[in-house]
Structure formats: structure tokens, C-alpha cells
């Protein structure tokens, strides 16, 4: 399968300051991809270059085999730009149907397409409103709706659930999962739990450099150490020493005594999870969750 996105030695600088520094990576079409990093890491700049909002200072960026900004990509990419607002003087339907017409829809079909994406975002009843009449969360959902118009091959979502209430954030996650078959999503977010649930690949940017590109939670045969993550209902510091005594455990890291990441040799002991449950039962310690692997946060930041 050819790459969906290919970046080669991509750089963007503002004067002497680099927002992106010689980034090279390749992404194939498929499950959603997470783009993470601290504020100012260059996530929005990378999205801006891929969406054609700004030009790179040097390097190449290709999408679907075409250079970014090529006419061949028109209508094939959707994007939720950060902080972009619709025209306050026109209704949501007027604006979305206009965008659909630019994408090639006939007048009636453009209205249907606008209605379809608004329904996906549970906003069908506000189609006649102007953007100024909507809350922050609704405005964001309208922007996400426009990104989904015409079922593009690639959708870039810059912090899609930031500022949304939990119910609407959940709806957006569900839509992303439902549409993942036909569209590849690249999602930038600070919510690592959300990204862990949605994505199977992550790109970590720091100070404009690509630090990591890896599959989330993937255990390769070359790795000797596996991980179990245990979350307790209440804090308990004494259990850590008991867990260490279990066969095959190599190390434990604790977060505030109610979450433990247990590293162990899986070839030596394939039933550590069952032994752990027994241990908790013996000591009468209630637990919230036991899961295989590390959280995305631990995968990205624990070994740094």
C-alpha cells in the first residue's frame, strides 16, 4: 500500500526560530493516527503545512502521492483548523452547502450533504442559525462537520474534543471510529486517554522534532518485557513489595500508590495477570482495572 502522508526533511522556521526541524515520517492509510506533543511542539504547524495553509521552509510533504497544495488534492482532504470561525453573517446551512458546492456537489445535493454532516455531529436542528448564536462547543462541532463533507480520504483534526462536554466528545470519538474504514484520521490532542482509545499509531513531536513514531500498545516478539497496568480503588503502598515477589516481575513503577505499571518477562510467566488477581483477593484489596500493556502516556514519557 502506498503512503498516505510522506514527509521528508520537513522544516518550518519563523526568523531564527524553528517550529519544525527536519521532520521525516511516513503514514499509511488505515486506523486513526495520534499526533502528540507539548504546546509549541509544532503540531499545528505540521497540520498547517499538510493542509496547505502555509508553506514549509524546506523539505517535501506529499499526500496520496501528490505534493501538498496540488490541485489533485482538492476535496480529498478535510481539516479542522484551530481557531477558524465561520462567517457571522450567513447561516450554517448557507456556508456548509456553499463549501459542499465547491467540492463539486450540485445545489440540492450540497444541502443534503450539509444536513448529513450536521446530523453526524447531532446539530441538524441548528442549520438555520448563524454561528454567533452557538456555544463554543457547537461551533467546534460545526467545524468538524465541514471537515467530514464529501467523505475525504484524509481528515486532520486539530484538538477536536478540546472544550467539548463529555457527551459530545464521546460522540466525536464514536464518529471517528465509525468513519475510520473509509477515512484516515490524524488527530492532534493533549488527551492521551482519548488518543489511546482511538488510534493505533502515534507521532510524538517535541520542540519541532519528531521524537517517536510507534504503534500504540504493540508488543513485538523482539521485546522480552511485557507490561501490566494495575489501578486500585484506593491508595495502597504495601502491595508494591508483594507484587515484586511474584515470579517473572522485573520492575514496578508506581503513580501515587494507586496505579502500578508492572514490567515482567512474559516468556517466563504467561499467567501473571491471574496471579495478580489472586494476590489482590488474598490481601482484600479492591481494584479498578487491570490491563495488558502500558498506557500511551507511560509508553511515551516513562522511559525518557
Amino acid at each position: 500500500m502506498s503512503a498516505l502522508i510522506e514527509c521528508h526533511e520537513l522544516s518550518k522556521s519563523y526568523g531564527n526560530k524553528y517550529a519544525l526541524k527536519n521532520i521525516s515520517f511516513e503514514i499509511k492509510a488505515g486506523q486513526p493516527i495520534a499526533l502528540v506533543g507539548p504546546n509549541g511542539a509544532g503540531k499545528s504547524t505540521l497540520f498547517g503545512i499538510l493542509s496547505g495553509y502555509m508553506a514549509a521552509t524546506s523539505g517535501d510533504a506529499m499526500i496520496l502521492g501528490h505534493k501538498v497544495g496540488s490541485p489533485e488534492l482538492i476535496g480529498r482532504i478535510g481539516a479542522l483548523p484551530q481557531d477558524a470561525l465561520f462567517d457571522p453573517n450567513l447561516s450554517i446551512m448557507q456556508q456548509l452547502s456553499f463549501l459542499a458546492r465547491l467540492q463539486g456537489f450540485e445545489k440540492n445535493a450540497s444541502m443534503k450533504e450539509a444536513t448529513r454532516v450536521l446530523e453526524l455531529m447531532q446539530l441538524a436542528d441548528i442549520s438555520k442559525e448563524k454561528i454567533t448564536a452557538l456555544s463554543h462547543g457547537m461551533k467546534k462541532r460545526v467545524s468538524i462537520a465541514q471537515a467530514l463533507m464529501g467523505s475525504p480520504d484524509l481528515v486532520l483534526l486539530d484538538e477536536p474534543t478540546a472544550g467539548l462536554d463529555p457527551e459530545n466528545a464521546r460522540n466525536i470519538r464514536q464518529q471517528v471510529m465509525a468513519l475510520s474504514g473509509e477515512t484516515t484520521f490524524v488527530i492532534s490532542s493533549h488527551n492521551l486517554d482519548e488518543l489511546e482509545r482511538l488510534c493505533d499509531q502515534v507521532l510524538l513531536l517535541e520542540q519541532g522534532e519528531l521524537k517517536t513514531q510507534k504503534m500504540i500498545g504493540l508488543q513485538t516478539s523482539a521485546q522480552d518485557i511485557s507490561y501490566l497496568t494495575l489501578r486500585l480503588q484506593t491508595k495502597n503502598s504495601s502491595i508494591e513489595s508483594e507484587i515484586k515477589k511474584l515470579k517473572s516481575v522485573s520492575h514496578i513503577s508506581s503513580k501515587q500508590n494507586d496505579e502500578f505499571v508492572i514490567g515482567y518477562y512474559h516468556r517466563v510467566n504467561t499467567i501473571l495477570d491471574q496471579q495478580l488477581l489472586q494476590l489482590l483477593a488474598q490481601h482484600n484489596i479492591p481494584y479498578r482495572q487491570i490491563s495488558h500493556g502500558q498506557s500511551l502516556e507511560d509508553q511515551l514519557f516513562m522511559n525518557q
Binding site: 495553509y53 482538492i74 484551530q82 462567517d87 450567513l90 465547491l102 467540492q103 450540485e106
Partner: protein, 276 residues
């Protein structure tokens, strides 16, 4: 997407039409339109009608002719249609002004709001830039047509015997006036790309149009080759056009057409590379 759902209208046309809609729904657009209608209503029903009546009337015609001679508009005496003669003078100065006012914000507010980002994934920057220009040209053309038709009705009201001559001169006036407003709209297209606020773009336009000639002439006294910059100040030919008939005025169209092409090429070149 189904085949029957495919839109055959080019994006540049869709953008031009959307600009037309957006111009009349925004507060600024509505304000300028209301002002435009008020000014033209007053002009058509008072100065133009009374001046035309005065030129028709043998008693006041000689006084009117000497008045025109005083202000350098003597050739207007040769016009058969007095209503259109007065309209010509008024329109030559008012339409550039209204096109400047209405076309100021072709992209500035939208770029600052981030709204252009919704468009660039669906059409090229060239289609956006030239579509906006075409939209504003369409708006001014509509205004010119409306005022021409009202002037023609005024002509019929004053004396129906010249109806054919009136119909014949209207296309010539329309072409002349559309060519006259072109560089003003194109200048605002360029300033919409370069400037970051509507106020600054308006101010820059005023500086170019009112002080541009003075600045260029002053600079040319030291560096004579700079006098060629005078060719790039929109509207320098308007006074000369006012002193001639529309068919002769058409001969000076090369200047506004050259300015329009120049401003558009420069504006598009900058917009193509601009971060939005």
C-alpha cells in the same frame, strides 16, 4: 458522489456569487448599499434631472453651457442626451469611490478569522482571489446597470423621442464605467492581501489615490524614471474621460486595463505564498 450530483459550475463563479451574497448580508455591505441608493436617488432626481431640464430649455441652456465651459466640461455641449451627459460625469467619479468602499474587505476579516482555511481545501487560491475580484466587479456592474436603467427612464420621462439614441449609448457607457472601476477593485484585491486590517487597507488606498501623484512627482524630480509610476495610480484618466464622449473615452482604456492586470498579478502572486 453520484454522477448526477456533480456540480458543473466552476468554483470561481461560485465564489463570485457567494461574495455577492456576503456583501449584501454583512453590516458594512448593507450600510454601503443604503448609502449608495440614497446618494443615487438624490443625484438622479435632483441634479441630473434639473441639469438635463436646464440643458433642454432654450432659456437656461446658454447659461448651462457657459457653466460647463467654466469647469472644463465644454464637450458635454455636444451630447444629444442631456440626462446621460450629466450621468456620465457623476458616474465617472462616484463608481470608483463606491467600488473602493465596497471592495475594501475582500479577504482581510476572513483571513483574520481563519475562514479562508475552510476554502483552500476545496478550491485553489487563484479561484479564491480572482473569484472575489469577479464578485465585486459583478456588484459594481449591477449598480451601474441599475443606475443606467433609471437614467434611461428619466430620459423617457423628459422626452420619449430620443429613446433609440438612449438605448444605443447605454452599452458604451456600461463598458466605459466597468473598465473605470476595474483597477480600483483590483487595487483593493491587492491591498486585501497585503494589509492586516480593513482600516489600514482603506487608509493605504486613500494615500495611493490622493497623495500618490504628489509623492511620485516629488520623487521624479530627483529620479525622473520614477514618473512612470504615475501610470499605476488608478483614475488618472478619469478627468480626461469626463471631457470627452464615451466612444473617445474608450481609447484611454489601456491604462485601467494595464493597472488591473498589474494589481491582480501582483496580488495573486503574494496571496499564493501567504500563510493563512
Amino acid at each position: 458522489m453520484n454522477v448526477e450530483e456533480v456540480n458543473i459550475r466552476p468554483p470561481i463563479w461560485l465564489i463570485a456569487m457567494q461574495e455577492l451574497v456576503a456583501s449584501f448580508t454583512g453590516k458594512r455591505g448593507l450600510f454601503v448599499t443604503v448609502v449608495f441608493i440614497l446618494i443615487w436617488t438624490l443625484l438622479l432626481f435632483y441634479p441630473i434631472r434639473f441639469s438635463a431640464e436646464a440643458m433642454h430649455n432654450p432659456d437656461s441652456a446658454s447659461m448651462m453651457m457657459s457653466l460647463l465651459g467654466l469647469v472644463g466640461l465644454e464637450p458635454l455641449k455636444n451630447w444629444l442626451l442631456a440626462e446621460f451627459a450629466i450621468y456620465w460625469i457623476v458616474a465617472l467619479f462616484l463608481f470608483p469611490a463606491s467600488s473602493l468602499l465596497m471592495a475594501t474587505d475582500q479577504m482581510i476579516t476572513e483571513r483574520n478569522r481563519g475562514g479562508l482555511r475552510f476554502l483552500t481545501l476545496r478550491c485553489s487560491r487563484g479561484q479564491i482571489f480572482f473569484g472575489r475580484f469577479a464578485g465585486h466587479l459583478l456588484i459594481q456592474t449591477c449598480f451601474i446597470v441599475i443606475t443606467l436603467v433609471i437614467t434611461y427612464l428619466l430620459l423617457l420621462f423628459n422626452g420619449a423621442d430620443l429613446w433609440l439614441e438612449g438605448l444605443q449609448i447605454m452599452p458604451l457607457l456600461l463598458i466605459n464605467l466597468v473598465i473605470v472601476v476595474c483597477p480600483f477593485i483590483a487595487l483593493m484585491s491587492l491591498l486585501s492581501v497585503v494589509m492586516n486590517s480593513v482600516r489600514m487597507a482603506s487608509l493605504m488606498a486613500v494615500i495611493i489615490l490622493l497623495l500618490g501623484g504628489l509623492i511620485v512627482n516629488y520623487a521624479a524630480s530627483y529620479l525622473p524614471f520614477l514618473s512612470t509610476l504615475n501610470y499605476w495610480i488608478p483614475g488618472t484618466q478619469v478627468v480626461q474621460m469626463a471631457q470627452s464622449t464615451p466612444s473617445i473615452a474608450l481609447l484611454s482604456s489601456w491604462s485601467p486595463i494595464m493597472q488591473t492586470v498589474g494589481f491582480l498579478v501582483l496580488g495573486y502572486g503574494l496571496f499564493k505564498r501567504q500563510s493563512i
